[in-house]
Subunit: 205 residues, 2 copies
Amino acid sequence: MMMSLDGYTAGPEQSVENPFGLGGMRLNEWLFPLEAFRKMHGEEGGEVNASTPIVEGWFENIGATVMGRNMFGGGPGPWGTNPWTGYWGEDPPYHHPVFVLTHHAREPLQMQGGTTFHFVTDGIESALEQARNAAEGKDVSLGGGAATVQPYLAAGLVDEMLISLVPVFLGAGTRLFDNLGPNPPRPRQIEAIAAPGVTHLRYRF
Amino acid sequence: MMMSLDGYTAGPEQSVENPFGLGGMRLNEWLFPLEAFRKMHGEEGGEVNASTPIVEGWFENIGATVMGRNMFGGGPGPWGTNPWTGYWGEDPPYHHPVFVLTHHAREPLQMQGGTTFHFVTDGIESALEQARNAAEGKDVSLGGGAATVQPYLAAGLVDEMLISLVPVFLGAGTRLFDNLGPNPPRPRQIEAIAAPGVTHLRYRF
């Protein structure tokens, strides 16, 4: 998860056109120039720095991903007749099963390169169980956004957390660490890596 | 400033008896075992780790400190007949002039070891100007708390910021990066230092 110094993962007024909200694209400024990121999206060239192993590690030993409907995108409500297929084009960078939490049932959506989106309507425990089974012994990644991470954290279902802390103030928007309930988990700090324009913080529970 | 992972510098229900609020003492757990901290308070022994140079640097080249009434302590309102003299005993660890922002005028309070508390009733710019003069070319430290840091940040009067980010969730209390206004400053990340139970993040503006 990328987080601003004042705790936001997205600015205000998130929309399909502006998924990170007002000012929220600044959370990605450290990421876009990286060779490791450009390669994921089929582009050549780019920078190599202390963020490189972090970004390369995003999909290391990951067998399945869970994400919220808002991160999958396309706006809230029923899927409609020409449904949204995600922000990532025909060949998403996951290359494994992705479980999308939603209130609206939908048939699985098979993309190129091994990514299939499965739409889960019966809650976070079910999505995690399905993802664990699909991961076949590899790790399950919790992609986001904040509204999806929060109930997993509150339920004690997160083992490890990687926060990329970006030196911007968004001032408003969606906070990552909200709604954690009366007994939030206590993270143990594992590592902190300074890189250009970002600090990567890893915690375990 | 010490800050929880969810952005708080103190828990809820701050009081004279509990200046860090409910759960807020957990923000200091990394600090108390350190030799560098114990020495400041006249105690011997303790640990040396990656936090040591950070704590030793707190008062390096500092000629004056500005702090809020809440950090000085004693509760709000007029000073009364037997006024509070601070949380730090007869020989506070500052050893230089300290300017306390307050709505209630009071004569300067001279302590042992070179610390004199001056009480400033005409606002943050005045306190900074008085502190700059008193510092005689050295740096001015902005001690806190959050309610004092915020207007200085919003006014663009902060040059450098050291955040000690502690892996706890307080869930409620006083947020550090609140009320920064429509044009908050943009920090540049200078360093990030991982230490046991804390990450020290330094930013410049």
